[in-house]
């Protein structure tokens, strides 16, 4: 079960893993995620599905090494397997033809943005993808995104690749070009999504964001993933992971993401020593 078919590092800290999971691959839709566990005493972490093939029965996950669990996962090799894998979880992205859709992927968030771009394109939308990263190595999946988009723009904070600047600069550029944008979908670090939403709100462009919060069960039972949307508490696992970005309290979300900062560091230090 859950055999690892392929694994490779696509940048310093980011790896791609293809896992055999025919039932999930057959069922998953763009925007959905899985929860996995790699060892008997391991924690459950949510990861958005980056790609899948129903015919061949696999899922692809793109993961950035940020803590012990992702580090441990990065050490698994082809032929090995993922101990526990549950999904698909969350509500799928609402896909319809709206006209011009701008997909914004930041860093490892480009991975979950990929199936959304694919689905939006298949629905007949004109898709412009903006890929952003701190530096060249963090701009991933460029070829796949090109295949799923009519146009791809790249920004890096340090200017080592594409346009120097932030993804918001690229959105602003499109607006300045006079392009009528019907929908923005942003997936990436909360701070990026927050600033994308501040910009698009100014221009009244509907914006969806996909949130990747801390979770335990992922099925609505624990409430670890709660966020405030439109002044109401929502559970990312069953109400999301996508929400109207203009209604999300990103500041609260960013604080909640740091809930276990101290323990996470301790766990990682212990693992590495």
């Amino acid at each position: 079960m859950n055999r690892i078919l392929e694994k490779e590092f696509i940048s310093d800290q980011v790896f791609r893993m293809r896992v055999e999971a025919p039932a999930i691959a057959a069922k998953r839709k763009a925007g959905q995620f899985i929860i996995l566990r790699t060892s008997e005493d391991g924690e459950r972490i949510p990861l958005t599905i980056a790609d899948a093939s129903a015919e061949e029965g696999w899922l692809e996950l793109v993961v950035q090494v940020v803590g012990k669990t992702t580090k441990e996962m990065s050490m698994l090799e082809e032929g090995g397997s993922i101990l526990d894998l549950a999904g698909p979880l969350g509500r799928p992205t609402h896909i319809e033809k709206v006209g011009t859709v701008v997909i914004v992927g930041g860093g490892v968030g480009i991975a979950p943005a990929h199936p959304i771009a694919q689905a939006m394109k298949n629905a007949g939308n004109s898709v412009i993808s903006i890929l952003g990263g701190r530096s060249r190595g963090l701009v991933i999946m460029e070829e796949q995104m090109k295949a799923a988009s009519d146009r791809v723009m790249i920004t890096t904070d340090d200017g080592s690749y594409g346009q120097k600047g932030l993804v918001t600069d690229a959105i602003q550029k499109l607006i300045d070009e006079g392009l009528k944008i019907d929908l923005v979908v942003a997936v990436g670090p909360p701070i990026m999504m927050k600033f994308v939403c501040l910009l698009t709100k100014k221009y009244e462009i509907t914006t969806l964001v996909s949130l990747n919060t801390i979770m335990v069960d992922g099925t609505g039972m624990c409430g670890a993933c709660r966020v405030t949307v439109d002044n109401k508490t929502k559970f990312v696992c069953v109400d999301g992971p996508e929400f109207d970005g203009h209604c999300v309290d990103f500041d609260e979300m960013m604080k909640r993401q740091r809930m276990y900062e101290v323990q996470e560091k301790e766990s990682m230090d212990r693992f590495q020593s």
Binding site: A86, G87, L89, T228, Q263
Partner: protein, 478 residues
């Protein structure tokens, strides 16, 4: 045997047998079970207190109608094996029920011995005897696998492996049907594993019960979130003839007060799941973290609130406050649980209600503000309604808060099954005798039907459902 010749009067003179317990000061530093259980001598003596009355109010009080007088008599005779057999005719999980059932409100409530001695505390200790027999059987090694009837070729899917699901699995399998249990988490047992703490229900017991089911030929499938990975209709397409939905309690409820999304604020479900299922008590040897708390507030007065408070103590908290808006006698928790929590040093803030949580600059909870309450006239539930006392607000420093005020229903199955009727709270509507739902071939039971209830009530619904499923598979009538 000598005991048999005792007169009822003599039986009534035998003192109630108490189980030994770990000292409260010791036990808050470990996760081991609190009571030790009866010795065989104690068990025989306690069983001898039973008058073997003809009316047997104990049986009527038991949701699964265990033949209590018979198994008590078998204990008197030293026939522990026979007693185990008697219990297991109607209850496949005695080691669990003996520990977590509210016997004082069920089998022991109507007991003539208790009535004669004018207190339910002195009723025959049926629950403790049930536990004794189940533990004795486990100590003997593998339990006997019940007889399985000839294969019928029919297949039953059970969604959820908590107490309701496990009960149905056993009763349906015994009739010769093939049974698959789909569990969303990576371990079986539902609330028995993720919710009820080790010190109240050792996990090894639950795992043994599940192994017994597997030995009977029940297939367990983990990491299967039904509703998402397969809809109920897809399960029928895959060849299942009937489905039992027992997905349990759903989304945790919060107080809807200011500050509830601050860091350090948990639902009891999350706190207990981290501690129990994910073994956060062993962090960093295990990977799942949990708050390292000094001052913890628990909101609520039920068993889950007690479990949360007592878990927080064991995780090293210095002060654990349990905030409840009514008084101690109105608490829905079992008396034994309240007593244990009290002994262990949980501080009860009764007739007080949290009104808001106050955070620091980094978004961590640092204080709770409560208001004092007084009891007014009885409300719909028959309990006196708590009313806030004006201008009585006060603050307490806390760094962790656990909200244990219940659950609303889980939406995953109803959302993916449009023809499954639910009530206005989202609970699945099922007939109270057959557990049949509005959808042909689909039965439901446990907390997804009841709202938040107890292990034994879920099992009681499981027994009803299993009987109805077996009947349905025989004659096909809906």
């Amino acid at each position: 045997m000598e005991e048999k010749k005792l007169t009822p009067k003599e039986r009534l003179q035998i003192p109630t047998q108490e189980m030994g317990e770990q000292d409260p000061k010791e036990r808050i530093h470990n996760l081991k079970e609190v009571p030790f259980g009866y010795t065989p001598e104690q068990a025989k003596l306690e069983a001898t207190r039973c008058l073997q009355c003809k009316t047997a109010p104990c049986v009527a009080g038991c949701p699964v109608e265990i033949d209590i007088p018979t198994f008590l008599n078998q204990i008197c005779e030293g026939d522990f094996k026979g007693a185990a057999k008697t219990i297991k005719i109607t209850n496949i999980l005695p080691a669990i029920c003996g520990r977590v059932c509210p016997q004082e409100e069920q089998c022991q409530l109507g007991c003539i011995v208790g009535k004669s001695l004018k207190t339910v505390d002195k009723a025959v200790q049926i629950g403790k005897l049930e536990r004794f027999i189940a533990d004795w059987e486990m100590e003997q090694g593998a339990a006997d696998t019940p007889e399985i009837k000839a294969a019928t070729g029919k297949r039953v899917a059970i969604v959820g492996s908590g107490p309701a699901g496990l009960t149905v699995a056993a009763d349906v399998r015994r009739e010769g049907h093939e049974v698959t249990v789909f569990e969303a988490l990576h371990k079986p047992g539902g609330v028995l594993i993720y919710g009820i703490p080790e010190f109240r229900l050792p996990k090894a017991i639950v795992m043994t019960e599940v192994e017994n089911l597997e030995n009977m030929g029940v297939e367990m499938k983990y990491n299967m979130v039904i509703g998402n990975i397969h809809s109920l209709d897809e399960l029928f397409e895959q060849g299942y003839d009937a489905i039992f939905v027992a997905t349990g309690a759903g989304l945790p409820m919060f107080m809807r007060i200011e500050g509830e999304n601050l860091n350090g604020v948990y639902s009891a479900n999350e706190y207990l799941t981290r501690a129990n299922l994910m073994k956060a008590y062993s962090f960093p040897e295990t990977d799942t973290p949990i708050a390292r708390s000094k001052n913890v507030a628990v909101f609520g007065g039920g068993n889950v609130a007690m479990d949360s408070a007592r878990t927080a103590l064991r995780l090293g908290a210095e002060n654990v406050y349990l905030v409840y808006r009514r008084s101690r006698i109105e608490m829905p928790a079992r008396v034994e649980e309240v007593h244990h929590a009290d002994e262990e040093g949980v501080q009860f803030l009764l007739l007080q209600n949290p009104v808001r949580l106050i955070g620091d600059e980094d978004g961590w909870v640092k204080q709770m503000e409560c208001i004092k309450m007084e009891l007014g006239e009885p409300d719909d539930s028959g309990r006196r309604r708590p009313m806030p006392i004006k201008d009585s607000e006060f603050r307490v420093d806390i760094d962790t808060c656990i909200v244990a005020i219940g659950n609303s229903s889980n939406p995953l199955i109803p959302d993916s099954t449009p023809d499954l009727e639910t009530n206005r709270w989202g609970n699945i509507i099922a007939d109270d005798q057959t557990m049949k739902t509005s959808k042909k071939g689909v039965f439901a039971g446990g907390d997804i039907v009841l709202g938040a209830a107890t292990v034994i009530l879920a099992m009681g619904q499981g027994r009803l459902a299993a009987a109805a499923i077996n009947e349905y598979l025989k004659n096909g009538e809906w």
